[in-house]
């Protein structure tokens, strides 16, 4: 009986640790040359970017890293390399609760389009927290906010044509 209770407590502790870990880093995986585990410290060392959003009259300044910079670090084809079969690639962004959205690789590439898709870790100068998660996407050029994924935990790159 005690063994079973300790096992249950151990699993619970592991689940809590997992949940905390999921919030403190982002996994970049799938069809990438270099899988990554990124923390806020890692993002702080990368080229920083900023976007301003206006939500119901309230302005927020998000800072973080352009998503294409993250893909570049993971070795995902960009610029002149993003052609042919590689254009059938997409990125699946997943939140802690399992929510998922998709971006094509081309719509993330500044060589294709002037988009602004930010992997944000601060808002108004403070680290993201609570329901925003430690990391989120900010997609200010989308009209609805549905792809501005909060509580972001995973980025999976998928190449449909190998």
């Amino acid at each position: 009986m005690y063994t079973r209770r300790f096992l249950a407590l151990g699993l619970l502790a592991a689940a809590v640790v997992w949940a905390q870990d999921a919030q403190l880093s982002i996994q970049v995986s799938g069809d990438v040359k270099q899988p990554l585990t990124l923390t806020a410290d890692d993002l702080a060392k990368m080229p920083r970017a900023m976007v301003r959003t206006m939500n119901n009259g309230m302005e927020t300044v998000y800072e973080g890293v352009w998503l294409h910079e993250v893909l570049k670090r993971a070795g995902v084809p960009q610029g002149s390399e993003l052609r042919g079969k590689a254009l059938a690639g997409y990125l699946l962004a997943e939140a802690q609760d399992g929510y998922q959205v998709v971006f094509s690789l081309a719509e993330l590439d500044p060589a294709f389009i002037d988009n602004e898709i930010l992997l944000a870790d601060t808002a108004n100068g403070k680290p993201l927290f609570g329901a925003q998660g430690r990391f989120r996407l900010v997609v200010p050029k989308d009209k609805p906010g549905a792809r501005s994924v909060r509580m972001l935990t995973r980025i999976d790159v998928v190449q449909l044509r190998k």
Binding site: N55, N56, A95, D97, Y99, K126, M151
Partner: protein, 345 residues
């Protein structure tokens, strides 16, 4: 430092970052007008019975609701719908439960005053006596000239409506514990349970409540100084609350389009813990009942039910967390602030 300081001659006393409400050009805000509106709002001369005022159905301690499923008018007639909160009504693009054409607080004020179906304050046919009684009031002989300094004909229904609208517009709530947590940098302002509840509220895969009750006002469509027409549009949903029989068929009562049956406005969730019972007909008594209603995907099958709703699983602990989050939206200061209290007491 506060936002919107003294804009238009009125101090909104908003925390930094919050937008100012829009103000109609023909009814600028002033402290004197808001003060007059407060006296009128709580004045029992506002009803044909002399026993009721606006404050009878919009009680400050209940975030300007009345705690009833159906409001009761001055003649005892029951309103088919529950009294809506007046908190942050200045930010509402349309007023009442299901009338997108009613966009002016000044215009809306005439409905409870003069409406006959249902009778609310019941002043129709008694307008002259009512205005005469105001003119005779010593307090008003000072308040009306201060509120409308450039007018000769002070005691009019139009000015009464303008003053009460200005008072209602001033009832702004953005200082709940959640606000201190979310925007004020105070991580201890709400409980851990409320923090967990916020995550359920904000999860598309679980509660998803934010999809209708969105933004800083936890409401549907919103208007503020400088807002676009798009931001002010929409925000009416059928959520499978009832069978939607007349006269409670929502937007349909106005449009007569079958697809509008059951569509009602998304109200703000600010102070929701003190505004029971819930929904347009007051049919859900507690926050727990509301959560269970939505967790079931809306309890009534209805062809117009919004597709946003879908059943989701909540543990008892999740439900408690969600309730704690909703309670963190209660602005205690608003419920007792003398600026909005009854001056006749």
């Amino acid at each position: 430092m506060t936002a919107g300081l003294c804009a238009g001659g009125f101090d909104w006393n908003l925390p930094p970052g919050f937008p100012r409400p829009p103000i109609p050009a023909d009814n600028p805000m002033s402290a004197a007008k808001v003060d007059l509106g407060r006296f009128l709002f709580y004045d029992k001369r506002m009803s044909v019975s002399g026993q009721e005022s606006c404050g009878s159905c919009h009680r400050q301690e209940l975030a300007f609701t009345d705690g009833r499923a159906h409001a009761e008018g001055a003649t005892g007639q029951l309103h088919p719908r529950s009294a809506l909160s007046l908190v942050n009504v200045a930010y509402a693009p349309s007023l009442t439960w299901a009338n997108p054409r009613l966009t002016s607080l000044e215009e809306q004020m005439l409905v409870p005053m003069l409406g006959e179906d249902p009778v609310e304050l019941g002043l129709k046919g008694h307008e002259s006596e009512f205005l005469k009684s105001l003119r005779a009031g010593p307090a008003y002989q000072k308040l009306f000239p201060q509120a409308f300094p450039d007018e000769h004909d002070l005691y009019t229904l139009s000015n009464v409506a303008k003053a009460i609208a200005a008072f209602e517009r001033s009832i702004v709530s953005v200082r709940s514990p959640y606000d201190r947590y979310r925007w004020g940098g105070d991580s201890s302002a709400i409980s851990d349970a409320a923090k967990r509840g916020e995550i359920i509220f904000s999860s598309s895969e679980r509660g998803g409540c934010f999809q209708c009750h969105g933004g800083w006002n936890f409401s549907g469509a919103i208007r503020f100084a400088g807002s676009s027409a798009d931001q002010q549009r929409g925000g009416f949903f059928n959520t499978g609350v009832s069978a939607y029989t007349a006269p409670n068929r929502g937007l349909f009562e106005l449009t007569h389009k079958p697809e509008d049956i059951g569509k009602f406005r998304v109200p703000t969730l600010r102070n929701i813990a003190v505004t029971a019972p819930y929904m347009h007909d007051g049919s859900l008594r507690t926050l727990e009942e509301v959560i269970d209603h939505y967790a079931a995907g809306g309890r009534m099958d209805d062809p117009n039910k919004t597709r946003i709703l879908h059943p989701f699983r909540l543990t008892d602990s999740d439900r408690r967390d969600l309730v704690e989050f909703l309670k963190s939206l209660t602005d205690e200061q608003l419920l007792h602030d003398p600026r909005w209290s009854d001056p006749w007491r």
